[in-house]
Symmetry: C4
Subunit: 307 residues, 4 copies
Amino acid sequence: MGTFIGHISPGFAFLSFGILYSFKFSLLLLRGEKIPLVSAPRPAGFRSCLKRIPIEGVLKLLYGTLAVMAEFFYPPGVYKLILYNKEKPDYPFVHPNEWQHVTMYAHFALSGWVDIINQACLSRRVFLYESIAIAIPFYIEALLLSNHMHGKEQVENSVHTMLLLACFLVCLVLTVELWRPNDPILWFTKTCLVMIQGTWLLHAAFILYKPLTGKPWKDNDMANLMFVINFFCWHIALNILLLLAIFGLTAFWLNRCSRRGRNPAFQRSKETLDFHLEMADGAAPRAEYEKLHAVEEETHLLQECDP
Amino acid sequence: MGTFIGHISPGFAFLSFGILYSFKFSLLLLRGEKIPLVSAPRPAGFRSCLKRIPIEGVLKLLYGTLAVMAEFFYPPGVYKLILYNKEKPDYPFVHPNEWQHVTMYAHFALSGWVDIINQACLSRRVFLYESIAIAIPFYIEALLLSNHMHGKEQVENSVHTMLLLACFLVCLVLTVELWRPNDPILWFTKTCLVMIQGTWLLHAAFILYKPLTGKPWKDNDMANLMFVINFFCWHIALNILLLLAIFGLTAFWLNRCSRRGRNPAFQRSKETLDFHLEMADGAAPRAEYEKLHAVEEETHLLQECDP
Amino acid sequence: MGTFIGHISPGFAFLSFGILYSFKFSLLLLRGEKIPLVSAPRPAGFRSCLKRIPIEGVLKLLYGTLAVMAEFFYPPGVYKLILYNKEKPDYPFVHPNEWQHVTMYAHFALSGWVDIINQACLSRRVFLYESIAIAIPFYIEALLLSNHMHGKEQVENSVHTMLLLACFLVCLVLTVELWRPNDPILWFTKTCLVMIQGTWLLHAAFILYKPLTGKPWKDNDMANLMFVINFFCWHIALNILLLLAIFGLTAFWLNRCSRRGRNPAFQRSKETLDFHLEMADGAAPRAEYEKLHAVEEETHLLQECDP
Amino acid sequence: MGTFIGHISPGFAFLSFGILYSFKFSLLLLRGEKIPLVSAPRPAGFRSCLKRIPIEGVLKLLYGTLAVMAEFFYPPGVYKLILYNKEKPDYPFVHPNEWQHVTMYAHFALSGWVDIINQACLSRRVFLYESIAIAIPFYIEALLLSNHMHGKEQVENSVHTMLLLACFLVCLVLTVELWRPNDPILWFTKTCLVMIQGTWLLHAAFILYKPLTGKPWKDNDMANLMFVINFFCWHIALNILLLLAIFGLTAFWLNRCSRRGRNPAFQRSKETLDFHLEMADGAAPRAEYEKLHAVEEETHLLQECDP
C-alpha cells in the first residue's frame, strides 16, 4: 500500500529483525560460537519437532502473511485480489502496486516456512537452505524497487533509491554469506543494513505521507532532494550507534551473568573473546584454542541468567 | 525472428537444458561425485570416439543449427542470408534482428562442437574447454540483448531487460565456475537461471505476440510495466520450486534403486550425502571420508536401475 | 561551502593525509613490518592513555571539526546552523550544500574519535574498528557526491564525477582491506587515490572559482569537458610519481640511518625487504624467515635517526 | 587523430601485442613455466644491462612515442602542441581529441620505460612493477573512452562503446593479475581481449572513415547500430579462433623441435603439460611433480630450435 501505514509496518518489521539480529550475532561473537553449517541428527516425532520451531521463522511467516492479507483486504471492505478488470473492454491489469508488495511479502513468508521446516522438521538442519531462502526475497525486493518508480515524483523516487541501495547491499552480503556464513564482519554489516532499511522506511512514511511541518515536500525544490540523501546518511550513523549500544549491552549482560557465578558457561565468554582476538593476530597457539573449545558444552539462549 | 515461434523455440531449448542440468547436478550432488577437471587418457580409434559422443553436445549443436537455419529460411520460401541490399543506392544492411539471432545461435552450436570434440575426440577431456565454450555464447547473448532495444516499445524492452538480467547472472556464474567448477551452489544457481530464461521466453512469447486476453499490452500503461516485473519474480519462485521437485524426485529414485538392491553403487549414495553434510560442518574426520571414496568405483547414468 | 576556500581546504587535508600515508606505508613495507590486527594488552591509567594518543586521529578530528565549524559559521557573522526557514509559509529546508558538507566532515571527525579511543583508551587496540570507522566517511562522501549534482553546470558535474570516481575506488579498497589489512598493493592504491582526491580538489578550486586565464570555463564548450578528464588523467600519473618519490626518499633515509650505524634496527630493513622479495618468489625457505623475525624487536617511528 | 590512420595504427599496435602475447603465454603454458615474481639478483654494469633490454618494452616505448609525435606533428606542417588559443579573447582550449590521445599514448610509452628499467637496470626484476605500469594506461584509456563521446554521432559512439567494453575487461583482468600473475585463464583472456581491441580498431577505421561500400553509415538507421554490435561479436569469435591457431602452432613447433632431438629441454615440454593436467585433477602425486621440476634448468626463447 502506498500509504502511511504501508511504509510504517514493514519499517517496524525490518527494524525488529535488525534488533533481533544484533542481539543474536553479538551473543554469537562474544561467546566465540559459530553457526553450525549442518546440525547433528535430531530425534524425529511430532512433539520434538514442535519444540524446535524457531521464533524468527514464525515471525517472518506471521509478518509476511499479515502483510499479504493487508495488501488485499485492508482497510476492511476492500477486495483487491483480482488481476484483471474484466469490465473494461481491454482487460487492463489492476492494483500493480499491491501485487508488487504482495510478491515481496510472500517471499519473506516463504523464507519463514523454510526456516521452520529446516529447523524443526528435517532430520538435520542445513544452514545453507535458510541462507538461500532469505537471500531470494531481498533480491526480489531489489528487483521490484528498481522498477517501482514509473510515474512517481522525484522526492518519492529519491527516497526509494536510498532504500534500494540498502536492499541491494543486503543482497550482496547475503550472497557472499552463502560461502562465508561465519564471518562476523558480514553478520554485522547485514544487521546494520537491515536496521537502516527499517528506520528509513519509518522516516520515509513521514516524509511522503505525514511531513512533520504539515506541508508536503515539494518535488521541484532541489534542496529537498539533497536533504533526502543527507537524512539517509544520518540514518547510517545512527544505526551504527544503535548496533554498538546493543553490542555493549549484550557484553555487559553476559559479564554480569558470569560474575554472579550462576552459570559457569558465561565465565568462559570473556576468555573466549580475548582468545579470538589473539588468534586474529596469530599470537595464540592453536593447541590452547582447541583445549578451550573441548570443554565448551552447548549452551542455549534461554538458559541464560535464570536463577 | 521477432515472432511467436521465435520466442517459444529458444524458450523450450533453455528450459529443456535447465531440466537436464537439474537431473545431472542433483545426481552429482546426491552421489557425492565431482566433475573431473581432466579425464584419464582414453582409447583412440573412431569407434570408441563415436561411443563417447555426448547427448548434451549433440543437442546444443542440433538446436543451434536448426535455429540458424530457421532464422534464414523459415517460413519456407524466405531467403534472408544476405547482408546488404544491393538494389538500393546506399547499400543498407538488412535483417539486423535475424543476423543478431544467428550470431547468438551459432555460438551455442559452436559450444556443442567443442563439447563433442572435447568429450569424444581428444585424448583427454579437459573440462575447462567446455566451460569456456558455454560461457562465450551467454556473454554474446547478454551483449546482443543489451543492444537489442533500439526503437522498440516499452513493454518489449521491459521483457527483454528481465531476460538480460537472467542472462547476465548466468555469465557471472559461468565466469566464476571457470575457477570453481565443483561448487554445488553455483551448479544450482546456474541451472535455475537457465530455467528462468526458458520459462520467461515462453511467457514473453505470449505477452508480446499472443496475449491471453486477446488484447495487446499497451505501452503507455504503467501497470503493464509493473506487472512484467511482477511476473518475472513469480518465475523465479516457480523455477526454484521446479528445481526442488526435480532434486526430490532424483533423491527418491536413487533411494528406491538402492533399496531394490539391484545396484550396490546406490546404497552408498545416501551415506555419501550424509558424509558430505558432516564434512561441511567439520565433524567427520577426513580419514573416514577417504576410505568411503576409496571403495567407490565409477558409475554411469545409464547403468542405473536397469534389471 | 561551494567556494574557492571550500575546495582548497579539503584538498589540502586529503593531500596531507595521502603524504602521511605514503611515508607510513613505505616505512612499513621497507622494514617488512605488518599492522598488528590486535595489539597486546596495554597498561591502563590516564597518563599512559594520554601518551598513546595518535597524531593521525587528532588530525582527522581537528580537520573534521574545523570544517564543520567553517560550514556553519564562516565567514564570521554567518550563522547557518538551521534546518528550516521558519519565516516562510511552507518551512523550506535551507543550506542543503552546507548540511551535506557537514555530514561528510562530521563522519571524518568521528573516525578520528574512533582512532583515538581505540589506540589510546581501550585495553587492546583492535585494528578492525579503525578500518570500519574510516570506510564509512568515504562511503558517505561517495553517496553525497553522487547526489550532489542537481541543478549544477556541466563542467562542475564533470569535475565532481571524477572526484566521485576516486572516492568510490577508495571505498572499494577500504572494503577489501577489512579482510586483507596487510596487503601492500592495497595500501599504496589507497594512498595514491587519497592523494589524487587531494590534488584534484585543489585543481577543482581553480577550475571552478579562479580559472588561471581569468575567464570562467564555459559549459557549452565540449573541449572543456574533454580537458577536465584529461587533466584528471595527468593527476593520476603525477600522484603515482609523487608516491614513488616519497617511497624512494624513505628508502634512502632508512638506508642512511642504517649506514651511520646509530640504530641497529635499520640495518635489518634492507635484508628484510630482500627477504620478502625472495619469499614472494618462493625461493627463500620459511625457516630462515622466522629466524629473521624472531630477532626483530619492536621499533617506533620516533626513535629513528636520533643520535 | 580522429582519422583513418589514427584508428588503423593503434589497431595494428594492439593486434601485434596480442599476437606477441599469444605466443609468449602459449610457450609458458606448454612448457609448464611460471612468471617469476622476483628474479634472482643480476650482474650490474652497463653492458649486461644493455643485453637485458626487453623487446616488448622497447616496442611499447617506440609505438607510444611515435603516436604522441604523430598526434602533435602529423601530417607534416601541423603543429598542435598548444593548449590554449591565446588569440581568442577567452583563451579556449584547443585540440581536445589530440590531447586525450596523447595522454593515452604517453602512458603506454611510460609503461615501456618501466619494463625497460625493471628488466634491464634494477638489481632484481620485480614483476609487480610491470603489472601496475601496464594496468594504468588501460585504466586511463577506459576513462578517456567513456568520456570521449560528447557531441559525436550514434554509430561512432556505438563503435567506441564496444571498444570501451573490451578495454574495461582488460582493466579488470589486469587488476586481478596483480594478485594472481600466474593464472593461465587470465593470461589468455587478456591476450584475447587485446587482440579484439586491435582488430576492432582496424574494423572501426573502415566503418567510420572508409566504408567498404563507399557510402558512409547513416546514424539514423537502427540497422546500422545493430550491425555494429553484431560485427563486434564476430570479432570475439574470430579472435578466439586466432588465439587457438597460434596456440596449436606453438604446440606443433615445440613438438617438432623436441622430436628433432636438438634441444632436450623440449622433450620435457609435453610431459610437463600432461603432468599439469593430471595435477589439475589431483591425480598425480606432488612428489613426482617436484622431481620433474628439479631437473628442469632455465631455458630461453631464443635458444630454441637453433642447430
